[in-house]
């Protein structure tokens, strides 16, 4: 539905990709780990490889958790917008269709802070 307004109400979106200096936003949440209270927001070049995302960006953000080092990335489940997503580690974000403001969820079965979801 459209905004109820006095005039033709059209304004540009505030957060389009062109405003991020060649980068894109990507959100990543690690399920069952509330040490990180909310999913995290990252700003990355679309040319980053998925492996760099995991090894550098996510490891910096989530590495404080003792379970991060225990993750076997061959057994994790990724969701993109809630749907199963199989990333290719050698491909870039752009190459595997990860768009500006896409949201990924990382599920690591067996790891959930020993049942505390911390």
């Amino acid at each position: 539905m459209a905004v109820t307004a006095l005039y033709d109400y059209q304004y540009p979106a505030a957060d389009t990709q062109d405003k991020f200096h060649g980068n894109q936003l990507l959100y990543v949440g690690w399920d069952d780990h509330f040490m990180f209270a909310a999913p995290l927001a990252f700003v990355l070049p679309p040319s980053s490889k998925f492996s760099e995302l995991v090894e550098n960006t996510l490891t910096f953000a989530f590495g404080r958790h003792p379970e991060w080092a225990k993750i076997d990335f061959s057994k994790v489940v990724w969701l993109k917008s809630g749907q199963p997503f199989v990333p290719e580690m050698d491909k870039t974000l752009a190459e595997q269709g990860l768009r500006h403001k896409d949201v990924l969820r990382l599920q690591t079965p067996g790891l959930n802070g020993n049942g505390t979801y911390f």
Binding site: D31, F34, K101
Partner: protein, 518 residues
Amino acid sequence: MDMKATKKKLGLKEKYAHMTRGLDWETTYQPKEKVFPQATFEGIKVHDWDKWEDPFRLTMDSYWKYQAEKERKLYAVLDAFAQNNGHLGITDARYLSAIKLFLTGISPLEYVAHRGFAAAGRNFPGVGPRVACLMQSIDEVRHAQTQIHALSNYNKFYEGFHAGASHQIERLWYLSVPKSFFDDAFSAGPFEWMIAIGFSFEYVLTNLLFVPFMSGAAYNGDMATVTFGFSAQSDEARHMTLGLECIKFMLEQDPDNLPIVQKWIDKWAWRGIRVLSLVSTMLDYMLPKRVMSWKEAWEIYFEQNGGALFNDLAKYGIKVPECIAQCTIDKEHQSHQLWLTLCTHSHAMGLHTWLPNAEEMDWLSAKYPNTFDKYYRPRFDQLRELADKGERFYANTLPMLCQVCQIPMLFTEPDDPTKICYRESEFQGEKYHTCSDGCKHIFDDEPEKYIQAWLPVHQVYMGNCWPEGTDPTAEGFNPLAKYLEWCHIDLARDGGDYEGSSDQANFAAWRGAATQNT
């Protein structure tokens, strides 16, 4: 020569008629719809503005008199507070985090409310609501001023009180929550404003803000705030009546107004409840001496009192807001989820947080038997364990925010408190994320509005949140430090854990000097 009075003073009724209804006039050289362009576009149909019942029958001359009298009393008490070291009378300096949140998050909104009611008064063609809105507008600016004055004494002694209204409300990530709430209301038409602020915020939710806040102040020895509260109380009663009168007026004027009003009630109940989730942390975590739990406050002030209100409105066809089922679930969780978030982000805040101690966690267990021990105590235990090792945990990456309420995406699925609730919409090829069905519904109804949201996390990533002249490519550039500088926060003094803060050290030293000889 003395003037001879030819006539007795006006009777109350006459005076009232002259000073409210008598102030109206008919336009002559411009059609009325051009003078009041905002009166119709929202779709609310009004056939007879004279049917407006003035709820308080207050005229401007009596208004000045009452307000001046209250002002004299308030400032006398504030003087006494300052002269008698009132800043040492509080239970513990931790209490001040609640007050800082109020001063930085709520007081600036009083000022926006002042502007909003002035605009609503200008835009209503009916003289009755115009006069009432004028008075409320003046009340609101007075509240902003008196809150700032009442709390300014703390600014002489404690950290974090220095820049709330001047800089932080437009810059700090957690203050964008209340700010965007009022921006949303102010940018709507006058009728929606009245439902948003006049009815939902000032009537349905006001007790959840003021009663816990004022009782909290009384329980924790904060006489300045208690006095402000008493001073504002009669205004608040008038505001509540205005909000209620306005909704009844809209519903009585035309049956076509019902679905519009219901939509606004649904929207603004949810918007207001999301904003007030910040208050839930005050009741459950910030007050050293607790008044009641958030859940108890919710049950008394919303479920019971609000339930009676909606029973009353049922005769117009109004239904209880659709978000209530979600709220009934959330009341067990939201304060804990939010405080855990604040505790792990207070390295980027202008107030202190702390991990609850053993006695406080027992209180929480007793108040939240269904959820605290099961979900939240283990998380606090693990944060405590890290803190005791000298590794107090703060998140090093910015959180994802909800596009509508602007709170980090910390809330969980209605049917599973261990899963974050993700909702997503697409508009004009762009993705937008929301924290709940309530916020998604609001986004989807008016996406054109919310795509403009100033989301602090995105703004930081765009590079818009540094002091002028900052070079983000310079060696050793620290984005968090520059962001805090831009927010006028000195992290060593204003933020981080209360343990080891200067507020803690100063309070202990000054209290000590007041009660001991060495």
